[in-house]
């Protein structure tokens, strides 16, 4: 049963539609159920906001690096580094990333990323359909 705007209705009596809205700020998956005349009586959606990473600093304002010394991983104050952030908006995912370099070097000593998967509806059916 689907809890529609007209009360509970049998899913078999409704027309299901799935879609994706891939906008500049959000990636949204949605599913709608409509009456045969096209009136949408149920809609659900979710996704993720395409927000940027703004900092990788810990509570003490330090950045971890890929460098090690005798005491372990080298930590550098964020204030001493150059920071660049950005996003890669691809067909399968939305990645937001942040990189740190020392002012006198082009070498990236820290790069973090957060990836949102752009899963389609349905990802997997008993017919083996993938994508959509």
């Amino acid at each position: 049963m689907i809890q529609t705007t007209h009360g509970p209705m049998d899913e078999a009596d409704l027309v299901r539609s799935d879609g994706v809205d891939d906008g500049p700020e959000r990636f949204v998956l949605w599913t709608e159920y409509a009456l045969p005349d096209g009136e949408v009586v149920y809609r659900t959606e979710s996704g993720f906001a395409k927000t940027a990473l703004t900092s990788s600093a810990d509570a003490n304002g330090m950045i971890t690096t890929d460098e090690q010394d005798g005491r372990g991983i080298v930590m550098v104050p964020e204030s001493e580094l150059e920071k660049v952030s950005g996003a890669n908006d691809g067909p399968d995912s939305y990645e937001t990333w942040i990189e740190y370099r020392r002012p006198d070097s082009d070498k990236v000593i820290h790069r973090s990323a957060s990836i949102g998967l752009k899963l389609r509806n349905p990802l997997f059916t008993t017919q083996g359909q993938v994508g959509g």
Partner: protein, 156 residues
């Protein structure tokens, strides 16, 4: 070759064979009839040069990423929410994002394999994303909403 997003064909068969148990069984368990257990699910990262996809049957270290603070085999997936269904769709999603902290993965990678480490590392799904690298930093793969329209694993 290239990685391609898919629910692994072997997994579809293995569901019918009862070879995966992503939540605690109500009646029986292969471990014990009185103390049912949940299988451990893991997630591993693979290089752009890999060839994972629908034909992948199990985790293998071939083409897996390597680097500082990355352990071969990947991370254990947080699985606090058992598979369930809504309407005609069954679904399951890890209950926390997949994350690796303070890792260096210098060679480009673009997919994560989710697999059942309890059941001989059998493959569950291959999920692709844009090619990326990590340098002394953190990688987070955000999990979708766990419902019939958005879950990571949906059988409709």
């Amino acid at each position: 070759m290239a990685n391609s997003q898919a629910i692994c064909t072997s997994f579809k068969v293995e569901i019918l064979l009862g070879q995966h148990q992503l939540g605690t069984a109500t009646l029986t368990s292969r471990s014990s009839l009185t103390s049912p257990t949940t299988d451990t699910v893991k997630a591993a990262l693979f290089l752009v040069s890999g060839s994972l996809g629908a034909a992948t049957t199990a985790y293998s270290a071939t083409s897996e990423v390597s680097g500082t603070n990355y352990t071969a085999g990947g991370v254990t997936v947080t699985n606090a929410t058992a598979p369930t269904s809504s309407g005609t769709t069954a679904f399951w999603t890890p209950s926390a994002s997949l994350s690796w902290t303070t890792v260096t993965l210098a060679t480009a990678f673009d997919c994560v394999l989710v697999y059942n480490s309890t059941q001989s590392n059998r493959a569950i799904g291959v999920y692709t994303f844009g090619s990326t690298t990590i340098t002394g930093g953190n990688l987070t793969i955000t999990m979708p909403t766990n419902d019939s329209s958005n879950a990571l694993l949906r059988i409709a």
